[in-house]
């Protein structure tokens, strides 16, 4: 079967991704200002703002879902999927939180230099997602669970919460994410 080949139709290169860990690909160094000056083109966008999920709750209000100020209800979003036709459901439950940033950039860029000489050989266009230096996470929260029904309101609903993830604070995200196609389209 060649199903996987279909999914691998594009490549992702993280030019320099540093959170609290080491750079992912050390040979792909960040471009200096000289190299950046060779990048022709205006346009592109610099985005500032924030994204939130179920900040105050979602649109469903029943005996299971409700507003976030109601301790007897879940106010987060729920994502369920199943891998077998007659099997149970994996669940990302009670998803909520928000994050904010300044400096997420998006543009199309031609790479033909830099990257320790690899850029000259590369010589093509990429979609560049410039990561903001700092992303502030606020009360990001979700649970991994397993359930016997897709909906928590279905008859006989049972669910086992496996673990919960909570995240807050600042995360340093530097560098660019370069997206380009590889392989046979």
């Amino acid at each position: 079967m060649t199903h996987r080949a279909g999914i691998a139709g594009f490549g992702l290169v993280v030019a320099f991704l540093a959170t609290s860990s080491s750079p992912v690909l050390a040979e792909l160094a960040s471009l200096g200002d000289d190299a950046l000056s060779d990048v022709s083109g205006q346009g592109g966008i610099y985005l500032s703002g924030d994204v939130s999920i179920n900040e105050m709750g979602g649109p469903v209000e029943n005996y299971h879902f409700g507003r976030c100020d109601d301790a007897t209800r879940k106010c987060g979003a729920r994502l369920a999927w199943r891998l077998k036709e007659t099997g149970g459901w994996m669940v990302l439950d009670d998803i909520r939180g928000n994050f904010s940033f300044e400096g997420l950039t998006l543009r199309v860029r031609h790479v033909d230099s830099g990257f320790g000489g690899d850029g000259e050989l590369f010589n093509r266009d990429v979609l560049e997602l410039g990561l903001p230096n700092t992303v502030r996470f606020n009360d990001v929260h979700f649970k991994i669970a397993a359930s016997n029904t897709a909906r928590p309101t279905d008859p006989g609903f049972l669910q086992t919460d496996i673990f919960t993830v909570e995240m807050r604070g600042e995360v340093v995200m530097e560098g660019n994410l370069l997206v380009f196609p590889t392989g046979n389209p």
């Binding site: 079967m1 199903h3 080949a5 279909g6 999914i7 691998a8 139709g9 594009f10 200002d33 083109g41 205006q42 346009g43 592109g44 966008i45 610099y46 985005l47 500032s48 703002g49 924030d50 994204v51 939130s52 999920i53 179920n54 900040e55 709750g57 979602g58 649109p59 469903v60 987060g76 979003a77 729920r78 994502l79 369920a80 999927w81 891998l83 077998k84 099997g87 928000n98 904010s100 300044e102 400096g103 543009r107 199309v108 031609h110 093509r124 266009d125 979609l127 410039g130 230096n133 502030r136 606020n138 897709a150 909906r151 928590p152 309101t153 997206v179 380009f180 196609p181 046979n184 389209p185």
Partner: protein
């Protein structure tokens, strides 16, 4: 007083036009005979008919057939006219006139070279009362000067094809034009109107699909009032100049040069008791070298040809108001220049070739316009609460046939038609592109930002071949309004999702971007209503379905950029709505959480009061489950395709990832009909504003424009420095007021339940295997508050 009844008199038809070929200068002897009398009153019952009135240009003719002047009330009866003629002390000729219930019409316009088809008929009904004063003089001293004022009431202006008609009903028009001059300068007839002031009111725009009806507000069979698209009102104060010169683009014909200045104007579209208003308008336009010929189009078809040299102008709309309280979304300015230009290596011009026929299956009457256009440059700017965003460098080009028919709900000659005014597209190859956005003023750097409007289907550049139709029927969801039925097919499309500028200041360059190419689109809309309501402008779709087959998603160049593969998007919606509401995001906590300034600041956010103006677009998308006929919501991504002899990927030969049968629901069957309810859908509110934002320097040193600063410094606008901004480590409250403006979009999407029936992996030989047996997403409320500025 002398009374005279004249049965026919073409002269009177030209009233109230300020020009009349039969109104010759009176010589002094004649004047002497008339002065001192109280004038002449002519009472006339005018009835004129002619089988054909023809115009020939270089031996090629166009015929107005079935020409008639008479009563608009009683068929075959004449129309009553009263004209009082007087000569003033200054030797001016004064006419006071009254025209009652007159109809001027012709049943058909037919080109001599295409006798089997025709363009359809026009009719004008009117009652007139007014005056015309004419004296010698003009602008040169050797012409004429006119003063005219008149009021038209009970007017109708209609277009009829194959027994169906659309007409403006209950027209009231007032015009006062003082000091209009008519001169012959060299070989040019010059009409100069320094002041034209007036108003127009159209009570209703009506449609009839009953061939027994002709120029009546009510149906001849049922007696009911004919359905209406709504009404219009316009008032204006303008001046204009028109030059007419003999000679067409080739041989005989007519050359027209014209310019108009709109000193002030207001426009209203009325839907029942609600209005969409364009207020405080002003502007100008200039037409240069417009030629009228009877000629042939680029395919050699006989046509009445209108070919243009240039058209340029600008329009300012001070406020666009809608909703219950007439709230404004802001100001709009448009500047435009139509002229010949090369696009994609081909020179496009501006021309319309009018031909008979319309859609070939709709009947012998209809209008076919073989059109070519070249919008060389346009800027569209939007200002709200004093802040401005410019959609800069808009260009458009195209060529193809546009057909116009008035049709009724029927299948005729194998083609499905709908009630209303049908605008058809036949082999239209067209495109448009914008250079980018500029926020603030014309000198601002180009930036992106249209990416934030993708949810509305806005692409910054698009080329396509188009066929299909849009049919506009009268009546909205309630009462007046519009109902739209359409079937549109696009071929060989190239649409930009992200687009870099096509001109960065040094001439045209290939436009880089993220492109959807080799696009084949087939879209259908049924019973989409358009109404103006208390809330704003509401579009409600009965049913819509489409397939967008994107041959390649390319990055870089639209023709040669690397491809991510093929993407097929299928949509099927029932009962979706879109509402355009005046007012933007209002108060926003950017980068934080909180509904008050203090709570926002405490969370680390910036409290923004984005003002009263702006636009909010509310979408409710009800995704319907697959209905078994192939209509569904699905996304397929195909890669690893085989190539043909030309190296092009062959669709269907690769492997596919398919999100199959995506639909919304309310999360259960609450009304007990055996199916999950689907009334909530995906609700998205998009609020668009132009507002300040925080821009932080990402690296130490100089930015792309050479302005230095340290990482983390804020960009502060400062007109006293060379690039118009500087970087500040710790901005003061005063400096914070000078943060840069951005294109601000606040979006909120909510849905109760979104399901994907299955996720399939498809192999061209091995067939389909299901990877995921169902995905259910429940209770989502996602908010994104993003402001786009140029990359420093």
């Amino acid at each position: 007083m002398m009374r005279q009844t004249i049965v026919a008199g073409l002269t009177t038809l030209l009233l109230p036009l300020p020009v009349s070929a039969d109104l010759k200068r009176l010589d002094d002897n004649a004047m002497a005979d008339i002065q001192g009398q109280s004038g002449i009153t002519l009472e006339m019952d005018v009835g004129v008919s002619a089988d054909r009135v023809s115009y020939y240009d270089d031996g090629q003719g166009v015929h107005l057939e079935g020409f008639r002047v008479g009563s608009s009330v009683t068929p075959d009866a004449p129309a009553h006219h009263e004209i009082t003629i007087d000569v003033g002390q200054d030797a001016s000729l004064n006419l006071d006139y009254l025209v009652e219930d007159r109809r001027i019409e012709f049943g058909d316009v037919r080109l001599a070279g295409a006798p089997d088809v025709s363009m359809g008929g026009l009719f004008l009904d009117q009652s007139l009362q007014g005056s015309l004063t004419m004296r010698s003089g003009g602008a040169t001293g050797h012409g004429y000067t006119f003063d005219t004022a008149y009021t038209m009431t009970g007017g109708r202006l209609g277009y009829r094809t194959n027994g169906n008609e659309v007409f403006l009903d209950d027209i009231t028009l007032t015009v006062e034009a003082l000091g209009t001059t008519l001169d012959v300068v060299g070989n040019t007839l010059t009409l100069n109107s320094p002041s034209v002031v007036g108003s127009l009111d159209v009570g209703a725009i009506r449609y009839s699909g009953n061939s027994l009806n002709h120029g009546r507000s009510t149906d001849a069979t049922t007696g009911a009032l004919l359905p209406s698209y709504g009404g219009l009102s316009l008032d204006y104060d303008l001046s204009s100049r028109t030059d007419l010169t003999a000679g067409g683009r080739s041989g005989e014909g007519l050359r027209i040069d014209h310019e108009t200045t709109i000193h002030s104007a207001n426009f209203l579209y009325r839907d029942d008791t609600h209005a969409l208003a364009l207020r405080d308008m002003s502007g100008r336009y200039q037409i240069s070298d417009l030629r009228l010929d009877v000629d042939h189009d680029w395919k050699g078809r006989p046509a009445l040809a209108l070919t243009l040299g240039t058209l340029e102008g600008d329009l300012h709309i001070g406020a666009i108001e809608m909703g219950a309280n007439g709230k404004s979304i802001g100001q709009v300015n448009v500047s435009f220049l139509f002229q010949d230009q090369v696009f994609n290596g081909r020179t496009y011009t501006n021309a319309v070739y009018l031909q008979g026929g319309g859609h070939p299956d709709a009947g012998p009457q209809g209008l076919r316009m073989a059109a070519e256009w070249s919008l060389s440059l346009a800027d569209l700017s939007y200002t709200e609460d004093g802040n401005r965003v410019i959609f800069s460098g808009l260009q458009s080009w195209g060529q193809g046939d546009i057909t116009v028919n008035v049709t009724r709900d029927e299948t005729r000659n194998g083609t499905r038609f709908y009630d209303g005014l049908r605008i058809g597209f036949d082999g239209v190859k067209a495109g448009y592109r914008i250079n980018g956005l500029k926020v603030g003023d014309e000198n601002a750097p180009l930036q992106g930002g249209t990416e934030l409007l993708l949810a509305l289907g806005f692409y910054p550049a698009y080329e396509f071949e188009m066929g299909g139709h849009i049919t506009l029927a009268p009546g909205g969801a309630t009462g007046e309004g519009l109902t739209v039925n359409s079937d549109i097919q696009l071929h060989s499309g190239k649409a930009a999702v992200i687009a870099a500028p096509y001109d960065e200041g040094s001439g045209e360059i290939p436009q880089k971007g993220l492109w959807l190419t080799e696009v084949e689109y087939d879209g259908h809309v049924r019973d989409m209503t358009l109404d103006v309501t208390d809330e704003g402008l509401v579009l409600g779709t009965g049913e819509s379905w489409s397939t967008m087959d994107i041959g390649n998603v390319r990055v870089g160049d639209k023709n040669s950029g690397g491809s991510f593969g093929r993407l097929v998007l299928q949509k099927f919606e029932k009962g979706s709505t879109m509402t355009i509401v005046p007012g933007g995001a209002g108060d926003v906590c950017a980068g934080g959480v909180g509904s008050s300034a203090s709570a926002c600041a405490a969370s680390g956010g910036i409290w923004q009061q984005r003002g009263d103006e702006g636009i909010t677009i509310r979408l409710k998308q009800l995704l319907a489950p697959a209905d078994g006929s192939g209509r569904k919501n699905a996304i397929a991504w195909e890669t690893n395709r085989s190539s043909d002899a030309s190296g092009n990927a062959v669709n269907g030969t690769g492997t596919q990832l398919v999100l199959n049968d995506i639909y919304t629901s309310d999360g259960g069957d609450f009304d007990g009909d055996g199916r999950d309810d689907n009334t909530f859908g995906i609700r998205t509110d998009l609020a668009v504003d132009v507002y300040q934002t925080k821009v932080v320097k990402k690296t130490d040193g100089a930015d792309s424009l050479g302005v230095t600063g340290n990482r983390g410094d804020e960009k502060i606008m400062d007109s006293s420095v060379a690039q118009g901004y500087r970087y500040v480590a710790n901005p003061t409250p005063e400096e914070i007021l000078d943060r840069p403006l951005g294109f601000a979009v606040k979006a909120e999407s909510r849905f109760k339940e979104l399901s994907i029936n299955r996720v399939d992996l498809v192999h061209p030989v091995g067939g389909t295997q299901t990877a995921i047996y169902g995905i259910k997403m429940q209770n989502f409320d996602i908010k994104a508050n993003l402001t786009a500025t140029p990359i420093p």
